[in-house]
Amino acid sequence: MLNTPTTSTQSSDISVDKVSLRYGSGEGSVLALDGLSLDVGRQEFCVIVGPSGCGKSSLLYLIAGLEDRTGGMIKVGGRPVNDAGADRGMVFQAYTLFPWLTVKQNVEYGPKRKGMPSAERNRIVDHYLAEIGLSGFRDHYPSQLSGGMKQRVAIARALANDPEVLLMDEPFGALDSQTRHSMQQLLLSVWEHSKKTVLFVTHDIDEAILLADRVFVMSGRPGQILADLSVPFARPRHMDLVMEPDFIAMKREILGLLKNNGGH
């Protein structure tokens, strides 16, 4: 059941090189990230796990181009990141569906901005709504959906725009644990079909190991990568994996890393 991720043979899709981020200036400034580097290969699913406030979400915002880095270089698909763009789709922890648009209109928002004809948009909407199991909710408004449904549509909306990479900032953080598990399962199956490059941020270690090809363990303030661990479990993965001894051993390793570098 063990396999080794083959990142070394693949070109890197997200390249973060000695990136630093400082909030404010002078005495009161805070160094959120300090010379952080990581690479994510094409079609790879990587997860950053770390304590809250360690700067993992900030890193994602930097890659998305929604915030400006203080130093270092970020490249996505070989191109330097200077601004937000449709090549980097993102799913947020907060619900960010446009409340004035129906599910269908939300999913086709990106393609419509690009000027895609409506017949083609319809085909894409049908495909992704089927993929997330919400075909029957095409004409519902976001306010009529549950939290889990909203995040499923947010994933569909990001993928429908066919981005180079998909950035996910604790997308299931606000959901109850039952919904969370089914969302993880759904995300894995959607990912198997689309094979996008994914960088996913969470503080939930189970979630990290379950989803990832590789897990980056991050320390708090200033944020740095403590370890880059390959996850050896074969796909498709099932929830029961969390009870396997190998899984628990890996979880213990990550917990140990976080504990030793936590409160300083």
């Binding site: 929604l66 993102m90 960010t96 446009f98 409340p99 928002y109 976001p142 990001a158 725009n161 981005p163």
Partner: protein, 266 residues
């Protein structure tokens, strides 16, 4: 529902109550107001010079409606309110949204807007008469001056309260910065903007009457002033009732409009 449960729901804070009770109470308040009016006038408690009898107001209204006077002045007032309100709104909505979205616009306008906002409109009426005369332009100016800056501030506030992550999400879907106001801020604030327009429409009526009382040759405020000079308190009552009815009507129109153009926000 048993009587005990009904009593409990009526006395529980924030608890919704049966629809029938809502209608009953809505009618009841008017019945009470009219009953007090009837008692005070037919009971000879208040002199007719100060408070007219209900049937007198009705007779006067029917007479003035028949000879066209009522419609002429109602039309004159409505026209001024609509012109002033529309002129103010078509500038205040886009400018307010831009002001709430771009800090640079806010920094430029805030000091001026917040200064003017607190000046009483009534103190400018003499100045407007001096500058513009007593034509329709003067009344329109009073209305615009009265509601424009309030609209601006309230619309800018609702633009500022659009969640940042909604805007961020739109960037990651390919929205350009210069498209943000039109594609995100405008639809996101539409229900709020309509509420602001609904509220300021009511204020427009207030400022209209102020302007008409000071200087006008037509309108409901003007006939009220004329009626005061002739001790025709029934005409004043008619004018007040007419303004109330028009206000109620525009309020309902805005509510319907909101339900129609912003069906997601109920």
């Amino acid at each position: 529902m048993t009587d005990k449960n009904l009593l409990k729901s009526l006395t529980t804070p924030y608890q919704s109550i049966p629809h029938g009770v809502v209608i009953f109470l809505g009618i009841a308040v008017w019945v009470i107001v009219l009953a007090v009016w009837v008692a005070l006038t037919y009971g000879e408690i208040v002199k007719p010079m100060f408070l007219p009898k209900p049937h007198e107001v009705l007779d006067t209204t029917l007479a003035l409606a028949a000879d066209g006077t009522l419609w002429e002045h109602t039309f004159a007032s409505t026209q001024v309110v609509i012109i002033g309100f529309v002129l103010s709104s078509i500038v205040a909505v886009p400018l307010g949204l831009t002001m709430g979205t771009y800090r640079v616009v806010q920094a430029f306008l805030d000091p001026l807007v917040n200064f003017i906002r607190y000046l009483p409109v009534t103190s400018f009426v003499p100045l407007f008469i001096l500058w513009i005369g007593i034509g329709i332009e003067q009344r329109v100016s009073v209305i615009i001056f009265g509601i424009f800056f309030q609209q601006l501030v309230m619309i800018a506030d609702s633009a500022r309260s659009v969640p940042r992550d909604l805007v961020n999400a739109s960037y990651t879907l390919g929205t350009r910065r210069r498209e943000t106001v039109w594609h995100i801020v405008f639809p996101a604030t539409l229900p709020n903007v309509l509420d602001v327009l609904r509220v300021t429409m009511g204020w427009a009526w207030t400022y209209l009457v102020v302007a008409e009382l000071v200087a006008a040759r037509s309108g409901l405020g003007y006939i009220s002033l004329k009626a005061m000079r002739g001790f025709q308190v029934d005409v004043i009552f008619m004018a007040i009732a007419m303004i109330g009815i028009l206000g109620l009507l525009t309020d309902q129109i805005f509510r319907l409009l909101r339900r129609f153009v912003a069906p997601w926000a109920n």
